[in-house]
Assembly symmetry: C2
Homo-oligomer: 413 residues x 2
């Protein structure tokens, strides 16, 4: 009997999560499947509310646009399935799977999404369901284990490296001493902040200092690093992960907790860049600016890496073929064959060994003193940021695919 | 006798200020001049300290790179010449001009830089010097009078529009109600914030609310605007100029002054986006995020407008030809001939009528209620963001021209 496939997106957006959708739809068609590919709106949360759309209905031109569209075309959710597999939510999901005649379930996301795939596949095994569950990795944080890297990381790294390179030019136009602190995403893993090393145009160029969450951050050591940096240049640029913490485990952004109320008593949230800005101003009496790269790190389609787009599509396609061949409870992972020339292949890893784990930035790639990243990181990161897609522009701006507002989702097809 | 030209950059960086340098050097060569084009390092400040470099020595390939390099290749300064023309600094400048055999002086910058050109040309007239002084406009703020627009604005507008479009996609992935507040540069003029209107993909799309400094901003009216916006969509994106102020003239960013100390007693600086974030969170109890687009607005070479690059080079070239033809005390201004097809020509305007003036965003282009920009703005802005340059990439990142660190400037050639 002809089965359908359903695919969902979950967790934070990336520049390439939609490329995985495209790859999945294309692989499904190439496999000659007659069933439909449904997209669940807002992940499992929307699926439970019967909110799906038919991705097989997208035209070739729409798929081309979708491939270059950042964020999450289907919408996303942050929804953790209960540990207790006897919870009613599981039968609700499987009722829907049956009613929509789904044979294959793909979920694109990070850690928590792999947890969803793990639980659903375990429930299926337990209840004798033959629905296949496959995870497609996605996170700018690059913190998933058992895969060389994650789709989304290369584009975010390319955004960080080129944006930091431009900010360095901007920060160096005046003669007066200055410190520019750039705060980069990454609460627990420093992969993305480490990519700022690529911004350097020559040995010794800015950003001179780079701090990751994997090494303890101490204010006094930071002040000394700054003093040494001022011996080399008047304009020092510092890159920090949002999640840097001291040896005692206290986040630097918590150093200003006591003052996080405005004059009306509202709570103000402050990032570590802003906190360090005031510390450095107070200590050095120089011009200081903090810059939070913010969500553009994860949603800049304009600066996406072509390699990352292609690999994300490849992961989506591989996931579909794996499901069709009967695999379940697995994630489409990347295995690097060589750095130069860069060669990559896909393989399957059990989601149960991936969810709830975190791949940290390797200690041996952090310089002594914890204020820089070593050159050993370069062969790993460089292939991931190569190439620019041919962008589709309209009236001077990027054209992106979006779901029509208010367009009703197809309910119970 | 063969004369040289000296050119300087002043004020904040833009994506295209270096394109004006290129245009000037090329026009100088095309005019068959045998003298050199010197670049003053860090503007008039560096010139007074004999810091110049020879731009005529740049190769064709270097000029091509320079044309696409953001920020200020020569470095910049914020230096206001004294009102008193008998001050010793004037004779110091003119001594240097004589020693370097300068016949033509070009200064690329905004308001304050035109003030410099004005004063120097008046001093020259007074002392019988035949050095010619010409201003080349440059500012992302688009706030110079007597010119249709300013070089730098188009690229910043393109950056704002495409980045806001991407942030809107990012901000709309979850079903839960949310407000995203994007703070855009512009202390006194709302031109750049108005460009966020272009981010809309369809009528009624985000950013639903746009506030400029030219209209008074009142919290209660803002809350009502937000309530209306929530009737249309769960995820509201708001764009605000950093300089929005209430009817009494108090900047919104000053609303939190009292709490601008962290737990160590350091002064914390807070933008209006962050201030509004806490107000909205407190009032609506929804997820709120504020995003400061920050310096990338003015230094993103990767998102520069080709039209802006070409026009900036044209302004530089026009300035050189004007100086060579004997003009002085003028600025190279833009005169728009038509919107469709877009046609532009250069003309000269007296710097004395430009400096210390500010061109505000027209009141008739602000919607009733002050929370949006009208469609009449579109024919004006659209031509300025058209086209993308062919970027020069290297290892996945933009290649930019920079001065070698520690390379000595040529002193008194």
């Amino acid at each position: 009997m002809m089965k359908n496939l359903v695919i969902g997106q979950s967790g934070g957006p990336t520049a390439v999560i939609n490329a995985s959708l495209c790859g999945a739809v294309q692989a499904w068609k190439e496999a000659g499947q007659e069933g439909r590919v449904y997209g669940m709106l807002n992940g499992i949360e929307g699926f439970l509310a019967d909110q799906v759309t038919d991705l097989t209905a997208l035209s070739e031109e729409e798929l081309k646009l979708l491939r270059l569209t950042p964020a999450a075309y289907l919408g996303s959710c942050r929804f953790k399935l209960p540990e207790d597999l006897t919870d009613a939510v599981y039968s609700a999901v499987f009722d829907n799977l049956r009613e929509m005649n789904i044979g294959y379930f793909l979920y694109v996301g990070g850690n928590d999404s792999m947890d969803t795939v793990d639980k659903l596949s375990r429930f299926a095994a337990r209840t004798g369901s033959d629905v296949r569950f496959i995870g497609i990795p996605k996170t700018i944080d690059n913190d998933l284990v058992l895969t060389d890297h994650t789709p989304g990381f290369g584009s975010a790294a390319k955004y960080v490296a080129s944006t930091v390179r431009e900010i360095v030019l901007d920060a160096s136009v005046y003669q007066q001493r200055s410190v520019t602190i750039i705060e980069i995403m990454g609460r627990h893993a420093g992969w993305l902040t480490a990519a700022s090393k690529l911004a350097r145009k020559y040995e010794g160029d800015n950003p001179i200092l780079i701090y990751l969450p994997e090494a303890p951050f101490e204010l006094e050591a930071f002040y000394q690093d700054l003093e040494h940096a001022f011996e080399k240049t008047a304009n020092v640029v510092v890159c920090v992960s949002e999640g840097i913490a001291d040896a005692g485990g206290t986040f630097i952004c918590e150093y200003s907790d006591a003052a996080k109320l405005d004059s009306f008593g509202h709570k103000m949230l402050t990032g570590c860049g802003e906190v360090l800005e005031s510390f450095v101003r107070d200590r050095f009496h120089v011009k200081v600016r903090s810059i939070e790269l913010n969500v553009s790190q994860r949603c800049s389609g304009m600066l996406a890496s072509r390699t990352d787009i292609e690999e994300s599509a490849m992961a989506g396609a591989f996931g579909v073929r794996a499901a069709l061949s009967g695999e379940t409870g697995k994630m489409a992972a990347f295995q690097r064959i060589s750095d130069v020339p860069y060669e990559l292949s896909c393989c399957l890893e059990p989601v149960g060994r991936i969810c709830n784990q975190e791949k940290k930035f390797p200690a041996e790639w952090i310089s002594e003193g914890g204020s820089d990243v070593t050159d050993s990181f370069l062969p790993y990161i460089l292939p991931l940021i190569q190439g620019e897609p041919k962008r589709i522009m309209e009236n001077g701006l990027p054209r992106y695919l979006y779901r029509q507002p208010g367009a009703a989702a197809r309910i119970k097809p």
